[in-house]
Symmetry: C2
Subunit: 892 residues, 2 copies
């Protein structure tokens, strides 16, 4: 190992740059960039991610070259800041922070005030003239180092932090309630008590040597890359484990040296709405962690964004520093050409920037910022389109509360993450996961959230917290996840022990229904009905730009006229998958379906099918009408017939009674239809081959509906799709039934309609022999759900038993049912397209598996040359945007 591993910055210069994120992490790269721009940044250095990788590969050790470069780094900081590491009079104190290539807020460890010991604390007191500050800094350092580096932080959050226990005892002894009520002497005593606790628990002395402290902290940060919550976060956000984290070592600056000090976080535009206002919060005389921890209620930066008139703004309290901050934020946004999330500290009136990064934002904000930045001339259209994560749009596309519905608002909080949610109250994140696993919708209610809650937050419909501001953990995470959140709802009283939440004198139990309006910050009792979302003008603009760019069509999977209309309003350009089996369950139809199944011969089946025909025709009439002028792909019957029979004895009895047959006959039929592996059994076109009369009835219903509409002047484009085809002969067999029936119907009706007959490609063999299958097919639609099942040999219903273990062991990078396995299944898709077009150049191809709504899979579909993707109605805009981004990504 040789080369450069440590990158210096500070004093208007830097060795790194913003585009070196993979090497320096986001924080390090941006600190370097800010320093180069001449923005005031405390001097420091970044240890690169290469060191992290080496550290893991070499049994948590460092090469000499790294040690030397860190030494030089400290020297550089000493020189720029005019202080000395370990000096008893003018000591350099350091922060040691993680900084990964992708933002992972709060997931990894941090150590502040490093360099303090019984000697250097005197120097700090000397320099600051503030004994309380000195001892408080020392106390905080020992606590943080003890937790993070020496491992005293409890693994379970049910256990209390031992240092907090000591503080609590001290406060009780002193008869005070706030940490700030403790005196310098109290804090000094706490340092000793903390050290004793560390010795007691670890058998080791707290290290007094600043260098030992430094290496301990660096190693703790590297190690925290692989802690469980960081791993969970990476998985949720598709961040590769190989990237590693960088470590930033930087001179400390203090927002807590007195009332001429402050610390804060800000966004250059409103991260919830995207509005172009400078938006942030700060605390006087505080360290940075205090703002995001949500313990004290932070103050607004300026009057524009003040919600509570009792709070003073930074603009009012420190106008000079505020003016500097405004200058910096504008420079940063202009430089990065994106909305920035910044952290700053004001030490004795002087502004220091600690971080800048592209700010996380709600989908609404992302859309508005992208569109307005284009209109301001800051970015071009393509950049605007690339600025919004397609997945994020999900937030905008789901229903909101019906404005006319009666709502019993029981309290209000901060509108921390927009959207509407209804669910049952659950108080613990891990229990939330259990509730959701049982199929419940839940609202996670917490005093405040912490990174350990990430799993439960991810499955909640909404999050409600008692404490914390707009930049609290709960708020930031919820916005990132697109989950509705009401934060800092001070009127709530939450008791984890009794699992109750009290507002006034009304007590809510675990399991009670609650609704949240994250856009308004409302907490509502019970369930509230929702209405379809209203999309902003910015949204429409962005979508129209996406439509200009994209080359793939976006269709929807819809089985009813209502879903068809919803999708059409979202921009769907047709139906890619209309499943007909759902229609078999409604009302009286199931009876006719069962008659068909129970019939002993073709004549009996035909009799039952005749009863179904008018229902199916009406279904198709409604759907075709809703989708006039657009293609509608109808899939013939797919599931095995046993799915239409009851499997519970109770229901079998009811069916027997209704049909006037014996329960034994019902049972015998269920038994006869039993399959060992129904997924690989008598379903799909195999049903149509053995019972052509079913296909015939369905084809008749489709063509009759089409003829009727055509004679009413409505333009219809039916595409009949045969499922589960594995051989050309199967498709040929079913196609013949369809064509013969269509010919007959059109003769009967005296109306000619154009239609296509194609197939799902969902059996590996169909992809392998796509050149043959294409001879019979007008189009291919890749059914990647089944294709994934068969290519992996996984039953979707059963794979849960081992997929979790596979995930934990890193055997599968992603759940192949969520994001298309491009390496394996993707080969079959590519092969299908290529071989199909070898036979029929220009063969229309699409995807109708659930992957059709997954942005990464959509990008793959673009590369594979598909003509369209089809997804659920609410995902249509996501797919439109993803399809546009696919073009832009592949242009590069």
């Amino acid at each position: 190992m040789s080369g450069k591993y440590v990158y210096l910055f500070g004093d208007g210069k830097a060795e790194g740059r913003a585009d070196m994120k993979l090497l320096l992490g986001g924080k390090g790269a941006n600190l370097a960039e800010m320093s180069s721009l001449g923005i005031p940044v405390p001097a420091g250095f970044t240890i690169s991610t290469e060191v992290c990788t080496h550290y893991y590969e070499h049994n948590n050790s460092y090469e000499d070259v790294v040690v030397e470069q860190v030494k030089a780094g400290v020297k550089h900081v000493e020189e720029v800041m005019g202080v000395k590491f370990g000096d008893v009079h003018n000591p350099l104190l350091l922060s040691v922070r993680s900084g990964a290539p992708a933002s992972m807020p709060g997931m990894m460890d941090t150590v502040l005030n490093l360099g303090l010991n019984d000697q250097t604390v005197r120097g700090i007191i000397e320099q600051s003239g503030n004994a309380r500050f000195g001892w408080d800094s020392y106390r905080r350092f020992v606590q943080m180092y003890g937790d993070v580096v020496m491992g005293l932080k409890p693994e379970s959050k049910e256990e209390e932090d031992p240092f907090e226990v000591i503080i609590h005892e001290m406060k009780e002894k002193r008869g005070v309630t706030l940490d700030t009520d403790l005196s310098a002497d109290d804090l000094k005593e706490l340092v000793e008590l903390f050290k004793a606790e560390i010795k007691k628990r670890t058998g080791k002395d707290f290290p007094a040597d600043p260098w030992e402290q430094l290496w301990g902290a660096i190693s703790a940060v590297f190690s925290s890359w692989n802690n469980p919550r960081a791993r969970t976060y990476r998985k949720l956000n598709n961040i590769p484990a190989e990237w590693g984290t960088a470590v930033n070592v930087q001179a400390m600056v203090y927002g807590n040296m007195g009332d001429d000090c402050a610390t804060g976080v800000a966004f250059t535009r409103d991260p919830a709405t995207g509005e172009k206002i400078f938006f942030g919060e700060f605390l006087i005389n505080a360290q940075g962690e205090d703002v995001v921890a949500g313990v004290r209620t932070p103050q607004p930066l300026n009057s524009t964004t003040r919600r509570d008139d009792s709070l003073k703004t930074l603009e009012e309290l420190m106008p000079a520093a505020y003016a500097d901050l405004v200058k910096v934020y504008k420079e940063l946004e202009n430089h990065y050409r994106d909305m920035q999330d910044i952290e700053f500290t004001i030490q004795k009136g002087k502004l220091w920037m600690l971080q800048t990064r592209n700010g996380k934002r709600t989908a609404a904000a992302a859309v508005r910022i992208a569109v307005e930045m284009f209109e301001e001339g800051m970015i071009d259209k393509e950049t605007a389109v690339m600025r919004v994560e397609p997945e994020q749009l999900d937030q905008l596309l789901h229903p909101t509360f019906d404005p006319d519905a009666e709502k019993k608002v029981i309290t209000e909080g901060l509108p921390a993450s927009p959207g509407a949610a209804t669910g049952r109250i659950v108080f613990h994140a891990d229990e939330a996961e259990e509730w959701v696993a049982r199929g419940e919708d839940i609202i996670l209610v917490r005093i405040e959230t912490s990174p350990e809650d990430i799993g439960g937050m991810n499955v909640a419909k909404g999050i409600l917290t008692q404490r914390g501001g707009m930049t609290s953990h709960a708020a930031v995470v919820a916005r990132g996840m697109g989950i509705c959140c009401v934060a800092g709802c001070g009127e709530l009283k939450i008791d984890y022990r009794t699992k109750t939440m009290t507002v006034g004198d009304k007590v809510y139990q675990e399991g009670d229904w609650l609704s949240l309006d994250g856009s308004e910050g409302l907490v509502i009792e019970g369930k509230v009905p929702t209405v379809d979302p209203q999309l902003s003008g910015s949204f429409g603009k962005l979508m129209s730009w996406a439509d200009e760019i994209r080359t793939m069509n976006v269709r929807t999977n819809a089985d009813t006229p209502h879903d068809s209309e919803v999708a059409r309003n979202f921009g769907a350009e047709g139906i890619g998958l209309c499943r007909t089996e759902h229609m078999f369950f409604e009302g009286d139809r199931i009876k006719a379906v069962r008659e068909m199944i129970l019939a002993d011969d073709e004549a009996g089946r035909r009799k039952a099918l005749e009863k179904l025909l008018p229902y199916q025709r009406d279904d198709f009439y409604g759907i075709f009408k809703a989708m006039h002028d657009l293609p509608v792909t109808v899939r013939t019957l797919d599931p095995p017939l046993h799915e239409f029979l009851p499997h519970e004895e109770e229901n079998q009895k009811a069916m027997a009674a209704e049909m006037g047959i014996s329960v034994e006959d019902v049972k015998a039929k269920v038994e006869a239809l039993h399959e060992f592996n129904p997924m690989l059994g008598h379903r799909g076109c195999r049903l149509g081959v053995t019972y052509p009369e079913i296909t015939e009835m369905q084809a008749r219903a489709i063509i009759e509906a089409a003829c009727q509409l055509k004679s009413e002047g409505v333009n219809v484009l039916p595409e009949i799709m045969i499922p589960l085809v594995g051989t050309k002969a199967e498709l040929a067999d079913q196609k013949k039934v369809v064509l013969d029936t269509a010919k007959k119907v059109m003769e009967e009706k005296g109306v000619e309609v154009d239609f296509l007959v194609g197939t799902m490609i969902e059996i590996p063999r169909a992809a392998l022999t796509a050149d043959k299958v294409a001879e019979e097919a007008d189009f291919f639609s890749f059914g990647t759900n089944d294709l994934t099942q068969m290519t992996f040999g996984y039953s979707r219903d059963d794979a849960g038993k081992f997929l979790k273990e596979y995930d934990d062991k890193g055997i599968l990078p992603d759940d192949p049912f969520q994001s298309l396995d491009q390496e394996g299944v993707g080969q079959l898709v590519e092969m299908g397209v290529q071989k199909g077009r070898q036979t029929k150049p220009g063969l229309k191809t699409g995807i109708c598996g659930e992957h059709g709504g997954d942005p990464r899979s959509i990008e793959f579909c673009y590369r594979a040359g598909l003509n369209y993707v089809s997804c659920s109605p609410y995902r249509v805009p996501i797919a439109r945007l993803a399809a546009a981004q696919a073009v832009l990504i592949n242009k590069k």
Copy 2:
């Protein structure tokens, strides 16, 4: 349509040749060839198979050009034979016979004596001077034409032929028992009665016009290409439906004009043993169909092959004609350089040849003839190796009756097809299929068999007939199928009505056990134990030639030392698949297996696995020892764990009692392990990934056994195979467990053994990503059973529900579980080999699915570049021969 569709022959000349079988069918091509050789063949012409195809594609019609050429053909026959079609004094009578490119004996229709009507019958009587012959010929013609062309033949063979009913009534009225006892007048009356019956049943008159008769017969023959029994036969013999049949129209010659006439069939060598003797049967004053129908007992051609001294030979009765026949048969065998099956008729002392073709033969005969023809200098070694159908060897490789066993021989018949069979008596072919479907072994017992019985014959263990000779339908078909047959067992009295068979006064019922020795012609009461087959010297020679030629190794699938030895004796060069799960069921082991499954944690599982370890080690010890110096591929545990638990309540109770737990606990575990699609569930390496301790125990057992044998001086070559791998990471995970365990064991034992770690390629994704998987694999073994299931999306256990229909509709040309689907699954095999070797040139690859014993699949494996095939022990010689033929086929 234009060109040549009708090919003339006769008078020492011909337009066709023997190598034109695809166009003229086997019979037509050989008639032409014989005619060109100057062998006496009645003049005639062949309508080519192209006309058949055209006939089916154009709604059963003919082009004018065909009609013209047929007319010219009839003219040619008239000229050569000196007779005239439809002439009242000297009429030409014709035979109209099918003749497909591949032999399909008795499957299609034939019409003889065509051209007779109320006028021409006078001419025949005039010419032959024999009124009875004339009317009998006319009677036979009307009957045959009525049955075949006019459709009076009953579809079900339970119904009697209406003409036979009339004959029967006539005989009763006349008080006679034999057809031959009927007078010329009786026969003349029969003709009228037959015509009346035809009119009554069809509403149509019997056609008097010879040309109308001719076209009716030609169409009937073309149509019979697609009758059900022909379709069944083609399927069993892999004959493509597209080939079609030719039609041979030929002047009639008569073996039934008097006692100076005869008809017979012969083989140029013994078709049962291959011995070089001229072997055949004939009947005086008979038509050809009488010999094969088995109604009269035929006489031997010569004293060499006479078994019954009371019968006169042709040599004795017609020495001149016999001498001509001997000259002809020698010329034919020399010309074709293969054993010929010939048909001849002697009309008034003159020999006419009606057919020659390569004779069907038993496997023993095939081997002997191939080897002896090579030794006689007639053919080369490669031809000899190509002369034996690998599949046929199956006959030689199965056990025969233990010569020392007590056998109660109840009667004897002709040794019509060799082998030994034990099964339960069934009298009807269709019922035979039902019995076998229920898992019974059966012996089909018939008075005589007919082409309609083909399905039942194919599933029988043995066939026993009361009537018929060595060339009877039963004998010919049984030899072709490799099924043991005792024919012409005259002492039997069979009563279909009561379903009984009587020998002397002993009555056997349907369902009674019976054994047949087809090599000796013995019928034995009850079951008889069998012994392993003794293979002939010719067999050894042929196999050694095959071994010289072949390039692929042949291994075996064996799970026990005994099977390993059997396979080794058959020439297996290692084990390609040793399944370990079978070992889990024996004796006490299942208890330990269940303890493992019931254990709540790893410690509990390890405890149970420790009990299994010594058993597994001993298993491997025995197998490795039996296979010393040869590679042994051991597959780690594959089936889902629920297969080791009882599913019946009764057995669950027993298990609960034995394990000392509640039956509820057993049920709960069974329930917990339940899967919707177990084939796609928690099995194969997925078990090993979640329970690495199972893989660890198995690896330990393998390596401990290997170390022990090595220290005893035995050379062992274990190859550990991980099943159901779909991703490189799975294999890497399991390989690490194996390597770590092996290292530990070898250190403990102080012995080093070489071993490989490879994988099954049985998941489509593994083939698609074989380049990646190969990075971790020392070898690939294609598990084509599972690969077929997943590539088609067919569950082998369930596909029966629709595969029959698929077969009937021609959607699948073959059952993909029997013969590898080269078009689809084969692509994955080729891809696996090619991508695997892209990563590791020379990667060892093999196949261990059941396809490894199927000759067509073996030929595919050769082309795909596999190093070895692995099959069941008894199929090893078949695979050796098929592997040699693969080389020869692909050399061409």
